[in-house]
Amino acid sequence: MSKVMATTGNTAAAIGAALAKPQVIAAYPITPQSSVVENLAGMIANGELNSKMVEVESEHSAMSVVQGAAVSGARTFTATSAQGLALMYEPYFRMSTLRLPMVMAIAGREMTSPETVWGSQQDSISVRDAGWLQMYVEDNQEILDMIIQGYKVAENQKVLLPINIIYDGFFLSHLMERVEVPPQEKVDQFLPGYNPQHVKFNPSEPMAVDPLTPGDILMEYREDHLKAAHKALEVIDDVDNDFGNSFGRYYGGAVQEYLCDDADIVLVTMGSMTGTAKEAVNIKREQGIKAGLLKIRAMRPFPETKVNEVLKGKKAVAVVDRNVCFGWNTGTLFVEVKAALNRCDDISLVPVIGGLGGADITLNHFTNCIDLLQKTSDYKKYHKCIWFKKGGELHEVS
């Protein structure tokens, strides 16, 4: 029987990680992720979790410790946010290029400066090209479920890549809500132990792990890495399906559609803003507007084909980013969606930026946004970026 609890997102992340039984955990506390580390330390202290936990002196060492353990064959876990992620970038990049599967939770936080500690997707978005799989979730149940699923995706023999499960700092990390905790035996059935064959760091089978490698061979590694990431799109869908069959919760895989089939107007969202956006879609549907929503769950690999299939033929689409893409005057997801839709010139595609640094994204933002999309669907090219301002206002920036 599942146990129903009221927990914060951070606690849900810790519970999900513990259910996956990592052998080695290393983490450094940072707002808003800290209670993930505290919870895991508490479980170990009480004998509820049998893992080695290393209380490292930095995030750089957190990723390095789990890298050492993973090279030696361990299932590992860590979690971080913002500045911590930036500090660990060096071993972070290497985790994926060494093809070491693991799960790292990110409680998304704005990048300093200006000095800030609050929620955003800027941290994880900024490392989207470091070879990891990255999935964004909408609520606390999805955090817990995706950490378990994450191991199954990452450790798949066709994938063998590390994965980030990303949830908005504060908006989920500190949100308390109802979460179903599946029983350990069922998780064990769904997620068998990890037994890597592609890397060994053991005197019984001497191996040079990652010798100096010339460019022509390095290029083969990169080609394989890209293929594996592409393959992960299928695996993400399959694992979602398997998980649904076992636990009764299906998330849609790489993307989740909400009332898109007959929609003229679609909001594209990622993370905790999605629930509010769905409410706005409902309100506008009641007013007779054919609105829908596409939730991007996999940012890496990017589900190009699915995005294309869902958005093709729509009149107007707004892509809402809780991050900015420096140099584009838009958010980053917008650039990705636009690249995926490169042959769909007849869609009025509108970039939206909101919710940076812990700013709230409200129902009014989304209802106003749908109203604006109705107006812009007449002209094909929209050359302004919309900023969600305080009080639900929209601000157009050319």
Partner: protein, 185 residues
């Protein structure tokens, strides 16, 4: 969906109080979520927390802008914050105050008021001026939106027996007044 905004000061347990309500709702086989307003946590500074309760899954994970219930941990907070901002018609307010109903300035949207002197009561029953558990009991008395036994259970788990008893005292001693027009919605 019921939407609650809690107003208090750092150190009063305002955010934790919101979490206790979610616990009680979930325990009662319903749904709930709570988030604090994000700011610097300082002793005595105004703190706001937001709670949603429903009998079905709750989608929004953001702040509450149009509450139909206010829990005011400290009446004097009104000097710093407009506690009535955005309230809906037929809002219920539960307030910690040593004033009587007649002395309070209540806008017309509010149709039910629960009052008690939770600070004095907390000093009496807990020994410290932390009114949150007493206010939770008062909230249940005024609204009946969650089950008192789950509120007491959680208060006991988090803060011990005295707080469990304090929640019961809050329930018992809260004066609930119907005020203004009530169209029965």
């Amino acid at each position: 969906m019921r939407e609650i905004r809690l107003h208090g000061r750092g150190g009063m347990g305002t955010v934790k109080a919101g979490e206790v309500l979610v616990y009680a709702s979930v325990k009662g086989a319903n749904y709930g979520n709570s988030i604090p307003f994000f700011g610097f946590e300082r002793q005595g500074a105004p703190v706001t927390s937001f709670v949603r309760l429903d009998d079905k899954p709750i989608r929004p994970k953001n702040q509450v802008y149009h509450p139909n219930c206010l829990i005011v941990m400290d009446e004097t907070i009104q000097k710093a914050v407009n506690i009535f901002e955005g309230i809906r018609d037929n809002t219920i307010m539960v307030m910690n105050t040593n004033k009587s109903l007649n002395e309070l300035d209540i806008p017309e949207e509010i149709t039910k008021v629960g009052i008690l002197d939770a600070t004095s009561l907390s000093l009496e029953f807990i020994g410290r001026p932390i009114p949150n558990t007493i206010m939770l009991g008062a909230f249940v008395r005024a609204t009946n939106w969650v089950d008192l036994k789950y509120v007491c259970e959680r208060a006991g788990q988090l803060w011990g027996e005295k707080n469990m008893a304090a929640a019961e005292k809050g329930y018992e001693l809260c004066e609930v007044h119907e005020v203004g027009e009530n169209d029965g919605k």
